[in-house]
Symmetry: C2
């Protein structure tokens, strides 16, 4: 039996956990607990620094694995350590999958033609550690997204195309023109996604839509009704569970069709005043419980 | 004595070779000469496939090293082999620099804040193999470019921001709005580049401007007069030496202010009818000679 495509795997996983919370694995070396501090020692060998980042990431996955549908490792904090970091990233992806999680590689690649195909194969098809989905850049054009979609057709992977982000400087380009550029990108996401629809009614081609623009979210949901949303910005970046509610209009399955990411708010919860004294794992675990409870409350989900 | 910044290193290297030809190192596994064919064997271990791609790339660098200012290894064709490929990429960068070449890592990264900083450090600052410059995506906003510019300020590296590309589908996003989005991006490239000016009068913040839009090139040069251009599209992608001339308006130093990339036209020249029978290295070497002669003729450069 063929494995279901990403869209269906995602919906199945969301149905199981009954909330759209996603844990970002962003092992910023300067923020790691003391036992991993070699990661931030600029004079230490990259191999040792990568090993510390890997160890932290694997431990964090173990803390959250039973309670979320997916994790999102951030490639940059692994690539920081060159090929040693690339190997650590592979192990993190493998571990996430071995723990039964969907793994969204936050790799933000983007290129054209055979070069885009190479990236797609690298992250969605190759052993040892294909991701279930990856994030990609749209700037090069809709045709630059096609090779990634083709890889998804071959292997059942998924994509999250950057549409609208929550950083202060995003508006100048993403809102340029009338209609704004992000709407034009959204239309292409829908068009390309139409050939990758799951049985669940959602596509395997998703969109990154910044969660701090709560007023925009309902509009994006209307533009992309069958597109899984990846919503960054929750927690440390300022968005609340209520802010993301417009992305989840399905009253029967209110966890459906999106993922709400929290990275630092979970991984580095031990750095917050309220968690001082607790072990970093306890602090992360409690922060995840709070996020799940917040999301369920805001979306009207019974536990 | 501090090493000159990228803008000045580039101009010095261009002055030395007296042409703006750049060799792209895009080791597409399906196009490699027979002696490297393990690279395209899907069943072979990634480590062996990466080793073949590395060996080809190092040999290609040796073929061209004495005649060009810079090379541009394409990260995707290395990442295709996971961490083994990442290691091969590092060795290719190191070898290029050891041969006295400027190395432009065609990595097309793009993210925000500390994540963008991590990418910038990974490719522009870290041992074992920092690139002299890298390509980056602008979609996330001008503030997403700042952490990359900051890394350039620390270590003298350079950037080439994607502004306008030559693929058929690029217009829908890049020409969106009035003025077109690419002009807005160009203005930001100039603004950010103003803080990274070299003594040569050019900035270390460059722009990727597709060379098949010859009619647009003069306009982009007027918009970005002190910005080094990275011009893809020469040769295999259809642009001629004459097409790129508007990017090089300096009559006294007509090689100045840009790089004209040829990847497959050099690396895989042996596959062209005219070169059949010759060794791949001879075919590549002759293709490079032809490109240099073409560029010098079109730009009015005496050898």
């Amino acid at each position: 039996m063929k494995e279901p495509i990403f869209a269906d795997r995602l919906e199945e996983a969301l149905e199981r956990v009954r909330h759209p919370g996603l844990v970002g694995i962003d092992p910023h070396p300067d923020l790691l607990p003391r036992e991993y501090e070699v990661a931030r020692e600029r004079a230490a060998p990259l191999e040792e620094r990568a090993a510390a980042v890997e160890a932290f990431s694997l431990a964090l996955i173990d803390v959250v694995a039973d309670r979320v549908a997916a994790i999102k490792p951030q490639s940059a904090f692994f690539e920081l350590f060159g090929s040693h970091g690339a190997r650590a990233f592979e192990r993190v992806v493998s571990h996430g999958r071995a723990r039964g999680l969907l793994v969204i590689g936050d790799v933000k690649r983007g290129d054209i033609a055979s070069t885009a195909s190479a990236y797609a194969t690298a992250f969605l098809e190759n052993a040892p550690a294909p991701c279930d989905a990856i994030t990609i850049h749209p700037y090069l054009g809709a045709d630059s997204l096609d090779p990634f979609a083709d890889a998804c057709k071959r292997r059942g992977g998924g994509l999250f195309v950057l549409v609208r982000t929550s950083n202060p400087g995003s508006a100048l380009f993403q809102l340029h023109g009338d209609p704004p550029l992000c709407d034009v990108v959204a239309r292409e996401v829908v068009r390309i996604g139409a050939s990758l629809m799951g049985e669940c009614g959602y596509s395997s081609v998703g969109a990154v839509v910044g969660a701090t623009q709560s007023s925009e979210l309902a509009r994006f949901r209307a533009l992309m009704p069958r597109t899984p949303f990846l919503l960054p910005g929750y927690g440390a970046q300022g968005a609340s569970a209520k802010d993301v509610a417009p992305a989840f209009p399905d009253r029967l399955r209110p966890w459906s069709g999106g993922l709400v990411n929290s990275s630092r708010g979970i991984a580095f919860a031990w750095r917050e005043g309220a968690s001082s004294g607790a072990s970093w794992k306890d602090a992360s675990s409690r922060a995840l419980d709070r996020m799940i409870a917040d999301l369920r409350l805001a979306l009207g989900i019974r536990a």
